[in-house]
């Protein structure tokens, strides 16, 4: 009886090992199952999801105009102090003073891509871009100014 | 067991207990001196059987500290929130680690974060803060760290 159990035990053990080896052997011989993505080489075909949160950008149209009114909603919504809105006063053709942005400073190094600023923006001035290769040699380069130099607010955006 | 039933039993056990209204669960406020005996009864009385201490924390109210114990019975599925007011300058309270073993770890965290001194704790040492930490307890409201804390 003891011997029978002993042999049964050894048989069960060996069988479980062989089952495992069959599985790894299957993958060893079936190379089409390989899932490696060769990242820097596949840059051309690499497609990120369109909602991917890479960095905050401010889209400009062809006349170098953006939609930002300088309301600082994004600055208030940001949990990390990533965004600083610097405002100035423009003189409109009617001679009135109007608040506009001078600079929208964005600290990429502090950003956690939480998307709160984009949802907070009442005029859809900022959005998330799908870039992700952010590494640079100088930390200062991560501090970005989102509005292009000389850009103006689009007509009709309040 | 419903909150009302619990209330009557607890009033029997400890007439000095004060109840707070408004919360999801029954809130009971007891004196620090009564805590150990009262907690033992909550744990061991068969019809209460609060065997699961699922949250232990402390709140700094600037004038005083409040220990908050969230209790649950895995058998009857009723809840109780136990609160103990502590003196802010000399916060001493009996440890509950003999009743619920999980309290040992959670109390160590409260000890270093709030400076609450747990009497008769088996192993009251710093757990999260680095060895040789001196100065104030980080989770208290008046804690200031000009280097690491960024005010927005």
């Amino acid at each position: 009886m003891f011997l029978k159990d002993y042999i049964k035990e050894v048989y069960g053990a060996v069988k479980s090992l062989i089952v495992g080896m069959r599985r790894t052997g299957y993958y060893f011989t079936h190379h089409k199952e390989i899932i490696t993505e060769q990242y820097p080489d596949n840059r051309a075909t690499l497609k990120l999801a369109d909602r991917f949160k890479g960095e905050v950008v401010m889209p400009h149209n062809e006349n170098n105009e953006h939609r930002c009114t300088g309301c600082t909603a994004c600055e208030l919504a940001c949990p990390n102090g990533t965004i600083k809105v610097v405002t100035k006063f423009d003189i409109t053709p009617e001679g009135k003073k109007k608040k506009a942005i001078d600079k929208l400073v964005y600290h990429l190094e502090l950003c956690t891509m939480c998307n709160l600023c984009v949802t907070a923006c009442p005029s859809d001035a900022i959005k998330m871009a799908q870039t992700f290769e952010h590494s640079v040699y100088d930390r200062n380069k991560l501090t970005k100014i989102l509005n292009n130099p000389g850009s103006k607010i689009m007509e009709g955006v309040e | 067991m419903q909150n009302e039933e619990l209330k009557t039993i607890i009033t029997e056990l400890l007439p000095a207990a004060a109840f707070e209204e408004g919360g999801e669960w029954l809130n009971v406020q007891v004196e620090a001196a009564d805590l150990l005996a009262f907690a033992g009864q909550l744990r061991n009385r068969p019809d209460l059987n609060f065997d699961y201490l699922f949250c232990l924390t402390c709140v700094d109210w600037k004038t005083h500290l409040t220990m908050v114990y969230h209790l649950r019975s895995t058998q009857y599925k009723h809840h109780l929130v136990l609160k103990v007011k502590l003196n802010r300058d000399q916060p001493d309270v009996e440890t509950l680690s003999a009743i619920w073993r999980t309290a040992e770890f959670l109390e160590r965290e409260v000890y270093e974060m709030f400076g609450v001194n747990f009497l008769n704790h088996p192993d009251l040492r710093l757990l999260i803060l680095p060895d040789g930490w001196e100065g104030k307890n980080p989770m208290r409201k008046d804690f200031e760290d000009p280097i690491n804390m960024i005010k927005l």
């Binding site: 089952v19 495992g20 999801a49 | 065997d51 949250c55 924390t57 969230h70 927005l152």
Partner: protein
Amino acid sequence: MVEELGKTTEGDLIINVGPQHPATHGVLHLVITLNGETIKNVEPHLGYIHRSIEKMSESLTYRQFIYVTSRMDYLSAHINNHACAMCVEKGLQIEVPERAQVIRVIMDELTRIASHELWWGAMAMDLGALTPFFYAFRERETINEIMEETCGARLTMNYMVPGGVLQDLHPDFQRKVKEFIQLYKRKIHEYDELVTGNIIFQNRMKGVGYLSPEDAVSYGCSGPVTRGSGVSSDIRKHYPYEIYDKLEFDEILETGCDSFARYLVRIREMEQSVRIIEQLIDNIPEGDYQAKTKAVLKLPKGEFYQRVETARGELGVYIVSEGGTTPYRIKYRSPGFSNLSVLNKIATGSKLGDLVAMMGTLDLVIPDIDR
């Protein structure tokens, strides 16, 4: 150090496992007293990744503090966010639209599967089998891609907001999830072939790390750790939130009380999560994905406690509000912290090699312990 431990006698060996060690998967620091290969005492030293999220949350608004909690238990980030969002909703008495509830539950269960997949691979790696890790990541990757498509990120999604979810589902979401379920069902038997049925693996797990049901309750363990000891503790079953009370799923209980029981609980929990997703994926109701909320949220004065079942156990969010825009005090009851406290109890007397098996089945995520 020697005097500190107190229990040391001559001939004992004290080794530091961590803060940088291959088996601790993070910066957990265990000071282990050994007698030969036998463990006499395990003492965790925490705080290497303590970011004081509780203190941080005190200065963030009710919309902002949710994103920080993704960084606690980063493997079930969705579920952490979910707990916080629900706690705020509880305080404001916001009615969440049904569509948002269903989306949240699907996301939670996907997160749970992803977390268990990673745990499975990492635990097999701890025990010396390096191959399962890659098989687990193959499946997890598809979940991450689904998350990336809908939420815009792979790990720290920040998808839950008070009142619902941040964005509507991606149009491809349902198709992709169904594809994932098919892939999962096609591949799950490999897990049994490679690991569960393997005799070496079973010998490493069975009878290791015995945790009695009484201890599991007394030490405040939760999640698969208690269910491996036969204590029913699934928050989704006992204190259902969102639409869990309308769903059909089983609470997995194993009575082995050892590492293998905890292992089986997690493996079978993945199947239950798939079952939940299958029930919901074709029945996502139409409607709003977010309730109308004010721009600035102010919780009324009071205390609010909300708990959910994360992949690791019971996560509680305790908010004390003074009526302002920021919480007065937040306490996160993290499952890992209590589960870690039991390690000394179950590890004493076993071999050093067993320690990695126990840490593996306790499924410790260090940022969740340290917060």
